[in-house]
């Protein structure tokens, strides 16, 4: 899904566009074990979301508890979707078994998708004012 595409950055990210900017706060909950890191990608288009390429942001944050709060500052108004996974063993990958089924935790904005990954449409949230969302790691 999002293997080896992430860069180490900080969670407090300020984007420069000043037009109708808002803050998006993401509460990541239900992290199974306090180890490794949460790696997350922020997308602003269906094309980049589907391709898993061209994310606006690719960030990793160390995990030290069951929850994590991430804030993206000064985001231009628009629709955004988040994909994340809990890289519990810090190997840079969403581990999966021989069937290709993830064995580490992951999640999407809107907590969308019952079994497989949701569409951009289902995962997208509209950000036009400061917004907090919760992503429950499955």
């Amino acid at each position: 899904m999002m293997r080896k595409t992430l860069l180490g950055l900080t969670s407090l990210v300020t984007l420069v566009q000043p037009v109708a900017a808002a803050d998006l706060t993401i509460l990541v909950s239900n992290i199974a074990e306090p180890s490794g890191e949460v790696r997350w990608l922020l997308f602003d288009s269906e094309a980049s979301y589907k391709a898993d390429d061209g994310a606006m942001l690719a960030v990793r944050n160390r995990v030290d508890g069951e929850q994590l709060k991430l804030t993206v500052h000064d985001l231009p108004a628009g629709r955004y979707a988040v994909k994340l996974f809990h890289d519990a063993n810090s190997n840079g990958e969403l581990d999966s078994n021989m069937l290709g089924i993830p064995t580490e935790g992951y999640g999407f904005s809107n907590n969308a998708g019952r079994f497989g990954p949701p569409s951009f449409e289902d995962a997208a949230v509209a950000v036009d004012a400061d917004l907090q969302i919760e992503i429950r790691v499955r």
Partner: protein, 474 residues
């Protein structure tokens, strides 16, 4: 769509039946919500010395949380029951398997995910198949521990003395969370063989496992299947593993049970794999059938022989197990019939011979897994309105000759297990007496089943009806 979901949820509300409409056997589907601490049972007769030890059984037990109730017998969380038979008496204990799901839902105080045959409106997305593992089908010994098994995920390891959950049975990263079915079979060396049926990926797969008696993986293989038929059990012979890809096939639907479609025009498929390297030796079409359980397999005259409890359709899954779990009156489903398969690898063909006996839960002497031998089973479903067995039966799989003891209406006989002993040995089984609201165990002498039980132990603690287990002598 929201409106439709609400409508379905309202129709499925628990306990909408007035008490008068609930059949008396609904007691077996009431469920329990807490562990059951050790309790001395009331004993009648003498348990023969070879029957001293522990009878372990697994089955769906936790039916409701936070005002919501499961709608299918496949769904409730597994509880392992231990009946400890000693010189001084018989004691019962029950403990829920602490699956990931059980622990999370205990904390939440509600169901977080749907079940195999139940949708909950407020269900959360799942990580993978392990998120919904309820470990509720079978319990078998391995390497000094017990394995509590489901069929679409990992087996859970238990301490046989305390029934405490120790973790999941792990092999390597590749096999993490890969289905490990609920009916492993042991060979004459004590090695364990199993399958894993993968119906939730784009291409259906069958995983084959060979474990040493120490629980370590010796080999495994993943085989793509021609179609996603439901597979619950398999047959082990001295040289082969035989798998029946049934004509109950995964299609579209709201949950696992809903997605299974009976396809009467699609032949079922017998797949014969070589034990040595898991290579496919034969693929043979047989008339459409649905089977949960097989008797043991043997090889004779170059052919492979085994028995199966065969259903003529999958109503038991799509109708019967729903209505029973919902505590609704019937009609439920047609009973299974014991049939004998004879498979010729030379001719690439199989003959199916009906044995004229309605039987489920086949058992045998596991010390002689590859000999044609008397099978035990639970019978009488076909004549009971409940479609639950009231008789213990023993049958010769070659001739079809049988002996039985029928307790009559009001008693549900659960899986009889063979216990070695003098003469032809014993059959040990648990039961529910739903007229008296008592659960218990009984032992009968094989060869003299008609005489009825030689000893029973019961209690006013009612246990939910379960599936499978094992007897471990003291």
């Amino acid at each position: 769509m929201q409106g439709l979901a609400t409508l379905v949820a309202v129709q499925a509300l628990p306990h909408t039946l007035r008490a008068a409409e609930r059949p008396p056997w609904a007691l077996g589907f009431e469920g329990v919500s807490e562990d059951l601490s050790p309790l001395a049972m009331k004993v009648a007769g003498d348990f023969p010395a070879p029957c001293r030890g522990a009878l372990y059984r697994n089955g769906p037990a936790l039916y409701a949380r936070g005002g919501q109730r499961y709608q299918h017998w496949f769904d409730p969380d597994g509880m392992v029951q231990a009946f400890r038979i000693g010189e001084k008496g018989v004691e019962h204990q029950g403990r829920f398997v602490r699956t990931l799901r059980f622990e999370q839902e205990q904390r939440a105080g509600r169901f977080l995910h749907g079940g195999a045959g139940t949708n909950f409106e407020n269900a959360l997305p799942v990580r993978n198949n392990e998120s919904t593992n309820v470990a509720n089908i079978n319990v078998q010994p391995l390497n000094g521990e017990l394995l509590a098994m489901w069929e679409a995920g990992a087996a859970y390891r238990l301490n046989p003395d305390s029934l405490e959950t120790l973790g999941t049975l792990e092999f390597d990263e590749d096999l993490k969370g890969v289905p490990f079915s609920a009916h492993p079979h042991f060979d004459e060396q004590g090695d364990l063989w199993n399958i894993g049926s993968v119906l939730f990926t784009r291409r259906p797969m069958l995983v084959l496992y060979h474990l040493g008696s120490n629980g370590r993986l010796k080999k495994s293989s993943a085989i793509p299947m021609d179609f996603p038929g439901y597979i619950h059990d398999f047959v082990l012979t001295p040289r082969y593993l035989v798998v029946l890809n049934s004509s109950s096939v995964m299609g579209e639907g709201r949950n696992f049970v809903d997605r299974l479609q009976w396809e009467p025009d699609r032949p079922s498929q017998l797949l014969v794999f070589d034990r040595a390297d898991f290579s496919l030796r034969a693929k043979i079409e047989v008339p459409a059938t649905f089977v949960f359980h097989f008797g043991n397999g043997w090889e004779e005259g170059g052919n492979i022989h085994f028995t199966a409890c065969a259903y003529r359709n999958m109503d038991i899954v799509s109708v019967g197990m729903h209505r029973l779990a919902r505590q609704e009156p019937g009609p439920y489903h047609d009973a299974s019939e014991l049939v004998r398969y004879s498979v010729s690898l030379a001719r690439d063909a199989a003959d199916v011979t009906p044995l004229g006996l309605d039987m489920e839960f086949p058992g045998y002497d596991t010390r002689r897994p590859f000999e044609a031998q008397m099978l035990s089973g639970a019978a009488g479903q076909g004549t009971a309105n409940s479609r639950l067995a009231s008789a213990v039966v023993r049958v010769d799989p070659r001739s079809g000759n049988s002996e039985r003891y029928d307790y009559g209406e009001g008693m549900v006989v659960e899986e009889p297990l063979f216990v070695p002993g003098p003469d032809e040995g014993y059959l040990l089984h648990s039961f529910l007496d739903y007229r008296q609201s008592r659960s218990g165990i009984a032992v009968l002498k094989a060869g003299s089943l008609a005489d009825g039980p030689v000893a029973t132990a019961d209690m006013d603690r009612v246990l939910p009806l379960g599936f499978h287990g094992c007897f471990l002598p003291a």
